[in-house]
Symmetry: D2
Subunit: 347 residues, 4 copies
Amino acid sequence: MKRAGILNVTGYAGAELARLLHAHPDIELAAVTGRSAAGKRLPDVFPHLWQIDLPIAESLEDVSVDVVLSALPHGAAAEQLLPHIERGVPVIDLSADFRLKRVDEYEASYKVTHPAPHLLQRAVFGLPELHRGEIAGAKLVAVPGCHATGVILALAPAFAAGLIEPDVVADTKTGLSGAGRALALAVHFPEADESVAPYGLDGHRHLPEMTQELGSLAEAPAPEITFVPHYIPMTRGILSTCYARARGRLAAMSAAEARVELRRAYDAFYADAPFVRVSDGAPSTKHVMGTNDAIVHPSVDLRSGRVVVACAIDNLGKGAAGAAVQCLNLMLGLPETAGLRQMALFP
Amino acid sequence: MKRAGILNVTGYAGAELARLLHAHPDIELAAVTGRSAAGKRLPDVFPHLWQIDLPIAESLEDVSVDVVLSALPHGAAAEQLLPHIERGVPVIDLSADFRLKRVDEYEASYKVTHPAPHLLQRAVFGLPELHRGEIAGAKLVAVPGCHATGVILALAPAFAAGLIEPDVVADTKTGLSGAGRALALAVHFPEADESVAPYGLDGHRHLPEMTQELGSLAEAPAPEITFVPHYIPMTRGILSTCYARARGRLAAMSAAEARVELRRAYDAFYADAPFVRVSDGAPSTKHVMGTNDAIVHPSVDLRSGRVVVACAIDNLGKGAAGAAVQCLNLMLGLPETAGLRQMALFP
Amino acid sequence: MKRAGILNVTGYAGAELARLLHAHPDIELAAVTGRSAAGKRLPDVFPHLWQIDLPIAESLEDVSVDVVLSALPHGAAAEQLLPHIERGVPVIDLSADFRLKRVDEYEASYKVTHPAPHLLQRAVFGLPELHRGEIAGAKLVAVPGCHATGVILALAPAFAAGLIEPDVVADTKTGLSGAGRALALAVHFPEADESVAPYGLDGHRHLPEMTQELGSLAEAPAPEITFVPHYIPMTRGILSTCYARARGRLAAMSAAEARVELRRAYDAFYADAPFVRVSDGAPSTKHVMGTNDAIVHPSVDLRSGRVVVACAIDNLGKGAAGAAVQCLNLMLGLPETAGLRQMALFP
Amino acid sequence: MKRAGILNVTGYAGAELARLLHAHPDIELAAVTGRSAAGKRLPDVFPHLWQIDLPIAESLEDVSVDVVLSALPHGAAAEQLLPHIERGVPVIDLSADFRLKRVDEYEASYKVTHPAPHLLQRAVFGLPELHRGEIAGAKLVAVPGCHATGVILALAPAFAAGLIEPDVVADTKTGLSGAGRALALAVHFPEADESVAPYGLDGHRHLPEMTQELGSLAEAPAPEITFVPHYIPMTRGILSTCYARARGRLAAMSAAEARVELRRAYDAFYADAPFVRVSDGAPSTKHVMGTNDAIVHPSVDLRSGRVVVACAIDNLGKGAAGAAVQCLNLMLGLPETAGLRQMALFP
């Protein structure tokens, strides 16, 4: 049994981490921290975590752990993780602090000075479908943003195979747990219920991650992504619908042929990815609720010939805590799927 | 007072027509028909329509009316409307039967032989924002499909001003009343709730309308639209998010300048449209619930320079029954907004 | 046209008042106030009220109005209404400040000192179904709490006819707009969605109103009500399910006979109430959404012989703003249904 | 590993059984049947069960299993289970066929002739909190109805300790998965969404189970329960709110004292029940979503002195498939909590 600690257990990602790690066969959840709730016990804050009767500590300093997972917000995460990193403890960060390679991109997006820019090159982007080997050897892993995960999983095989033009539209639909536990009018039930709206039209912070990761794959020039997220009146799930012009040999085919070719590329790309299912039909977020799975459906529009890929994930699963546990498994030499095999809660 | 009759009042569009016409200051709802429910009274089928104590008839043949509105499905609509059209009664059809000018497009999309192709050229597309004058003089008006209304309203000003390339992505999110009252697993609460999924990936029937109408506006070549609708766990509302590359002078501007220029084009295009509001912020479907309004928000993505336009309507309002009443007003010489001025039910 | 002013338009009840008064044929909405939003215009706070381009003022002092409606919270309401009352302006208060006749009941429930206890006897309880005549002659009317309205409408006919024992269970289910616009974890979408929970188990403030009003009707001893409200994952609507033992002649009948007898009492009681429908089937809150209607379904349990009455209202309609407008109509000598005839938005 | 077979896997309870048994450490799910879907594979019907690549068979006849679980509807269940029972295979039935001891009660409620009334006395009511020992030794166990489970768990300790009068109101609120997968207008999203309504006002079939089980516990005369279920716009969960007059020594206490005394009785009654939590605060169905847990909150109304007990379960968990697995564990000599320890999916 390896011992894990969670920084900032009191948000939704933190709570989901606790739930997953408690059920993990090879992990003992040793300690958790939280800012405002320090001093309480975990079930006082989250009654559904009644089996985890841990105190909420102020820090992990006095606890010996084999791995630290942070669900702190950006800025705070890098700061509080630094001592653990320096001590050589494997660290998994769910914030944006170590996702981007370029500190200028980070500082432009997040409007803060990065507290530890020297670590950016050492950090590994925590998407095993792209970086499995590196994650296995890493001491510092940055779990991608939930929108980024969906969009990258949707497009990576097509970019990697040079099958689409770099000019991409990514239209995502997210459940409201994606907005976090902090109170806000946009997440107030009477205003969010029965309504759909785009947000982030002036630029969303997850975009640079998408560009960085898809750009490292493409044979084509750097991706140019127009990314618009939408709030949907549900709790969990992100559906990412991505659009791009076919390129190269795909562009020369009929739409029907292109569908087959595209599917082949996706099947190949994800052949060894235990959590990604390439599907025949349109994916539904409900089919991944509560899991670390992604359903990816590549298609070609029969009229326009445009490539359309839809990807469904649980924003708190594969989009956050599930991905973190998957990285943890790789980093600690455990089976990649340990603790992550549950099927979706349906209906 | 003009007398109106409704064909097939027993679906959601028919019921909404009844609700609107009952409250209309210049209209008397004289008779309604329904297939399976014939013989019952309207409130037996729809308790919320308790003030409209009309019998549900088999046909409107014996009733003298000044206008007929049909909420019949395609195919049945044209057939049952023919006698009224031949008698010279003004007719408003909510089905697809008279929307398309080209019978081959219709028959390819709807897989039926058109019962009255000779009427297609006489029919007017019932979107007053594009065809106000023609509707005012028409005897046969075809109300657009709900997805088509949203997408056309989102893109018409940009196409008309030559500000976007014809290669367009239209990603729409619709509430489940859009799927109608017929029972289906996709609309079964436990399966639809807490889930988002695309549908119609093999082609949606509303696409030809969009192409026809936007194509008649564009200075550019014919629009090439990739259209993907999505089911959203809510009852009413469609949000259409549309993406296109800037063109001509817009493409030469900075994104900030392009936003101003684009907004100017939208303000001008909708200057006389009483139901369209060009908005500063992202539109939310809840802000139009129960109305005939459309909120259109044109924007330019600051990173990619791509034009992004979002449009919110109520699929049963401006997307169906509201639009029908707006056309009725124009056809009968009534004020365009008569009976349609209610503001959204919020929250 | 009479001129109306609204105090505290910035909550849900205030916004609904504005929506209803704007559409009212005999009322001009002259001015609105709001605390934090003073200085803005109404559509800046509530985009759905785009047709009401009024500034949000700090007070109504400089405005001449024929009636003042207050959506202020308790305590603040009485204080700010006092000058208007003293000036003789008709006043309609949606808070609890003038609902209870006994100041000790008020102060025990609301934990504040009443700023104007001398007015309690002059104030009329704003439920026209019980107090139509008094309201018509009143200068100060207190609109009941939303739960109280549902429970009183459900039980008043049975109490008035002496058909039930005073020992009553009232189990209510309310949409979350009932919790108001102030942010709270219980109304945070991810926590409220897909969940039902009771609240107020230590006593809910609407109880004394129910006891006062039903107690004034009963032939039996004072009602003893156990009242438990529940939050439901929807926005609008309250369903009140009320249970009591049959009494007197009803207790001597078979359940089938008792159903007929009970129904007769309800039909008679509500014969002149334009907004109450006594229904044959179980009521659904969706059938009253957006209206001032109440659907009341009296029944007798076939096994236990117990009386069960279910009542559906829109908590912001008949439960708040609709009731206020109904009272306004009576106070100003307008038709009781003026501005309130719209049918429910369904589906 | 014991081998289990499921009859009728194609409804929601059947699918949840499959999900739970697949994850069960001591069970191998050997075969599943389904009526209309026979011939397909399980993931074709339920994509979320992608890890269970079993064919859907017509029957279990040719399969050797250690236990049979039936999610067939009543009538069909008894018929198809008979051969397995006669062969001596342990059987767990989720239908009503073996819940009631009195065949006349069954036939009056279900309007069918019981195919095997001789088995009723042998069958054990599958609520381990009341019948743990009997279930452990049983070959035929009948899992209670979901409403019955909630109401019995809410009231059993109070009845067993003689603390409440037998005259009880049980008001339950159920998510719509409780209505099953068969299509119906009451479960059609646009009609069910944003609405609450009672149903079964002429008598609900789960009532006799409640009476039978609580009656076997009570020191008082037979319970007389008025039971009214309500549909709630959510997918999973039942909240049961139960009301009864205090009795005996409880009736003589102050409300505050009675709360303590009542709580003591509940703590004692559930001391050995691993899935029942007696809670300090009001329970929320979201806190048990996806689990076999029940949260029970006993209280005493401070004004009326009436006992109010609220109980939250997942209708597909403790209300159906979870309870079945709990019984299976006991019947097969496995740890009672095997395969059932997951905590709720929250938010």
